[in-house]
């Protein structure tokens, strides 16, 4: 009987005040947020969005290098490795040749100047 009485007195003493309530709430909330964050971080789509060759930062890096060299906006369908290793042996320089319609970006008169009378 003595042992039970001591146990009850400890429990009552703990419940008679709100000491530790905010700590417990903080820990519970932290656990929920951490688990949510961990789940979000481990999500394949999120990882692909942030990391990897096609992730956000990788795309930004490719875009910086491409637009710096060619003066054009980078789009994900552009074959970046091929474009960045262009070695001047063909006319496939995007600043010079429009890759969409395979036409030069330079222009000239379609007809010769008329002769002076």
């Amino acid at each position: 009987m003595d042992v039970v009485w001591v146990g009850k007195s400890i429990n009552l003493r703990l419940l008679r005040n709100n000491l530790g309530q905010s700590v417990v709430e903080y820990i519970l909330l932290l656990a929920v947020i951490s688990s949510l964050g961990y789940t979000f971080y481990n999500n394949k789509r999120f990882k692909a969005f942030i990391k990897g060759n096609d992730g956000m930062f990788a795309t930004m890096k490719k875009g910086m290098g491409y637009s710096y060299r060619y003066g054009l906006e980078y789009k994900t369908e552009i074959p970046i490795d091929e474009k960045m290793s262009f070695n001047y042996q063909s006319n496939k320089h995007d600043t010079y040749l429009n890759p969409q319609d395979e036409k030069s970006r330079f222009f000239a008169g379609s007809k010769p100047y008329p002769l002076q009378p």
Binding site: M60, M64, G65, Y68, R69, M84, Q89, S90, N91, H93
Partner: protein, 173 residues
Amino acid sequence: MNVKNNKGQSTIEFITTFSAAVGFIFLFLKMATNYTEGYMVHHATYMASRAFLVSDSESQQSIEGRDKSAFTVASAVFKKNLPEKLIKNFNGELKPNYPGAGILAPFIGVWIEYTQPFSIGFVGGKDPVTFRSESFLGREPTRVESIAQVCAAIKTVTEADCKTEATLDDNGG
């Protein structure tokens, strides 16, 4: 015990959010410096290409020698416009596209490739970004080349070598 109060809680929260925010600030700061440095490199490459276009050294008596001499002048112009310590850890080296070296004519000029870290914080990573600056203004024919072509033209008329004095007359035809 220290855990019985909430002292330091706001500090910890501030540190965690502040470090993330600073990470993004450093990312955009580095991107801005990359763009700014890129403009400087573009300008220096363009100035070097101008020098490469017109340089014609009398000390060289071959077309190849004059082209190489022109590139030496272009490199000096590049360094003048982009001093070594202007960009931290700059690892680029100016390269020439000489005429007649298997390079298409529109791409005769100079170019440079260098790398810079993408970010200086933990946001974005420190993997390098490769930048290539190109300027293809071409290359004017050297006086050696002009002399050789004039000599070849004289030979077709006089059927003698160019050491023989010849007077050419333009009949206006």
